[in-house]
Amino acid sequence: MSVRQTWAAIGTVPKLCLLVVGMFGFAFALVPIYNLLCEVTGLGGRTGGPYTYEAASIPVDESREIKINFITNTNGGMAWEFRPEQGGVRVHPGELTTVNFIVRNPTRRVMVGQAVPSVAPMRASNHFHKTECFCFEQQVLRPGEEIAMPMRFVVGRELPATVKSIALSYTLFDVTDSVAQSVIDAALADSAPAMRPDNSLLQPEEAGNSAG
């Protein structure tokens, strides 16, 4: 091969390597792109972050009533008990509603949980606004501790007319192992004393539903 061709060929390589490196980076860039896409389109049924509610700007639409189911699950290996205070509510679009979710750590160790929300149908998910939600942060619970976690939400008035009911699911994951001990200690120091003391552990009447 001629010298000219050889040098030209070698000259092509850096450009191609740049493409390769760029595409490797792009794979990682897909993560934020995907998350953005999820928030914009409701892909994956995810709900957005904290929402700022201004009562005046969203008048309540009394003409529609939306049925909302709360579904709670603990993921495999997560020992906590987790349930909504009420299984669901009927709301009008634009109406600010607060509900509680009860979570209890029945084990004898401090654990950290993270609730992951999901909304069905997906086209409702970017009309489901949460001004306050326990899912925005992790929960640190002492042994036997039970807390009520508030969630305040409003369903947007622009919710498509075909959506008459929404299911909001929370899946609780055990993330204890991925959280640094110092973070756990800090959370325990900050939080109010447990609503239930440790000695509630062995009272059987309290423990019923963990198997169901």
Partner: protein, 535 residues
């Protein structure tokens, strides 16, 4: 074909091949490396084929007879990975190595040392992957698509080796592609303009760009898996704010272009063979090039059609349905062009032509089932059933694989200087043709009747089709040993081929003697302006 041209590399002023094993270990010669790739891919094809036969043996009748479900899942996973990354892709790279320098009038590939490295990575990668089968807990068992969290939180320990093996395969492909692009862009003989290049070169140029674009994405995906498994990140775990569905999006962003990587060079091969045996120029060369380019482009915007059932907003489903359906247009153009090339030709039916015609017919059938799969509401019924298995085997076996076999028959006389045994070649074709159809055609029916894929045992109403399918698999599998015999026999035979080999052959490679000299074109050939190289 009476003219006999004796190979003249002895009096060549350049050095010939080194002797013994070091010739192969340290070779930087495009033909040697092409040969290594081809034999390696054939070995992988046999290993992957044995896995396929284990699968078909277990599925011969209902119940668990030969293997347990854990092992069955390892077989389906490794069969897929080995056939895709070990058999089909390296075979195309081997063909590219052999043919591209000869077809564009270059002495060798542009980057010969990297060429050596990109091949020798592969045996290590696949030894590592296959060795996982003997590790405690077994090898990868999560399907070749390795969806999280089955491949992360729930994976066997050997998944780390799997990840490294995929990294190595990716590195090899990337280096191979860089080499192909550098060669095609810089090493063409004077007068060989882009639009005069044979279609095999064109399709490989586009394929190489696809590979450079998506192999790094695959590398990214497995890197994220590695971090999730060992370093506590949660790209794909909902607990830490990740999303298992995102894995599928990233995987198929790689995966859909990947399936075109496995079919575009096949288009190039068939576009060389059909004109030769129809003794007529390829119909619509320009539209062929544009069709390949548009298929490559579309391949980046259709990935989620593999994921219609994960639950997407309606608008997303519709977008991916429409864009997928659109692929039928350029694909159709290619098929119509091949048919028009045959039309009013003067056809003979040597083995390469038989495989090429079977390619056109059976690949088109795979295309039809692909079109059916693109229709989202109907796809809900097809998704993850044997209908999908039938579909992608129709495009990959009588598609990609038949084109590779056709290419081997077509160019083998040029490579080794001898004609193969035509009678045996035809027997091989008919056994393969019958075997492939008996194996995969019934799978359309079992899929439509509701048989899910990747199951080690099935309900009784699927029995008949599975039995037929297993019989076909044995016919197809064992007839490939005949292929090996034919190739080895031809290499050792004394049936010298002419330099043109085929009556209707056209292209620079046929101006070289058979066997082709160790260094292809030490002096650039003159490309005649009057006759386009592709006709």
């Amino acid at each position: 074909m009476s003219e006999v041209v004796i190979s003249s590399h002895d009096d060549h002023h350049d050095h010939g091949p080194a002797k013994g094993i070091s010739r192969w270990l340290f070779t930087t010669n495009h033909k040697d490396i092409g040969t290594l790739y081809l034999w390696f891919s054939f070995a992988m094809f046999l290993i992957g084929g044995v896995m396929a036969l284990i699968i078909r043996t277990e599925l011969f009748q209902p119940g668990l007879q030969f293997v347990q479900p854990e092992f069955f899942n390892q077989m389906t996973t490794n069969h897929g990975l080995i056939m895709v990354f070990g058999a089909i892709m390296p075979a195309f790279v081997g063909l590219a190595n052999w043919l591209i320098p000869m077809q564009i009038g270059a002495p060798d590939m542009a980057l010969p040392r990297m060429n050596n490295l990109s091949f020798w990575i592969l045996p290590f990668a696949f030894s590592m992957m296959i060795s996982t089968l003997f590790m405690e807990g077994g090898g990868p068992n999560f399907g070749w698509t390795f969806y999280a969290p089955l491949s992360t939180t729930y994976a066997p320990d050997s998944v780390t080796f799997f990840i490294f093996a995929v990294h190595l395969m990716g590195a090899s492909s990337i280096m191979g592609s860089i080499n192909v692009i550098a060669t095609i862009l810089n090493m063409r003989a004077p007068g060989m303009t882009l639009m005069k290049m044979p279609l095999f070169v064109w399709t490989w140029l586009i394929t190489a760009y696809l590979l450079l674009a998506v192999m790094p994405v695959l590398a990214g995906a497995v890197t994220m898996m590695l971090f999730d498994i060992h370093f506590g990140t949660s790209f794909f775990s909902a607990a830490g704010g990740g999303d298992p569905v995102m894995f599928q999006h990233i995987f198929w962003f790689f995966g859909h272009p990947e399936v075109y990587i496995m079919i575009l060079p096949a288009f190039g091969i068939v576009s060389a063979i059909i004109p030769t045996f129809a003794r007529k120029p390829l119909f619509g060369y320009d539209s062929m090039v544009y069709a390949v380019a548009s298929i490559a482009f579309l391949s980046f915007i259709v990935w989620a059609h593999h994921m219609f059932t994960v639950g997407m907003p309606l608008a997303g489903q519709l977008f991916f349905m429409y864009s997928t359906m659109l692929i039928a247009v350029p694909t159709g153009v290619k098929v119509f062009n091949w048919v028009a090339t045959m039309w009013r030709g003067s056809m003979t039916f040597e083995t390469p032509m038989l495989f090429a015609i079977a390619f056109v017919v059976l690949f088109t059938m795979g295309g039809f089932s692909g079109l059916m799969l693109s229709i989202t509401p109907v796809d809900y019924q097809y998704h993850d059933t044997y209908f999908v298995v039938a579909h992608f085997h129709y495009v990959l076996v009588p598609g990609a694989l038949f084109s590779i076999i056709a290419a081997v028959y077509y160019w083998l006389p040029k490579w080794c200087g001898n004609m193969y045994n035509e009678t045996l070649g035809k027997i091989h074709f008919w056994l393969s043709f019958i075997g492939v159809n008996v194996t995969f055609f019934p799978q359309h029916f079992s899929g439509l009747a509701g048989m899910p894929r990747r199951i080690p045992d099935y309900a009784l109403q699927f029995t008949d089709f599975n039995m037929i399918s297993s019989v076909g698999a044995y016919i197809f599998g064992f007839s490939q040993l005949l292929f090996m015999y034919i190739v080895i026999e031809a290499i050792r035979a004394n049936r010298p081929a002419t330099s043109k080999v085929w009556d209707g052959a056209y292209g620079l490679e046929w101006t070289l003697p058979s066997p082709a000299p160790y260094h292809s074109f030490t002096h650039p050939p003159k490309v005649d302006d009057a006759v386009p190289a592709h006709s």
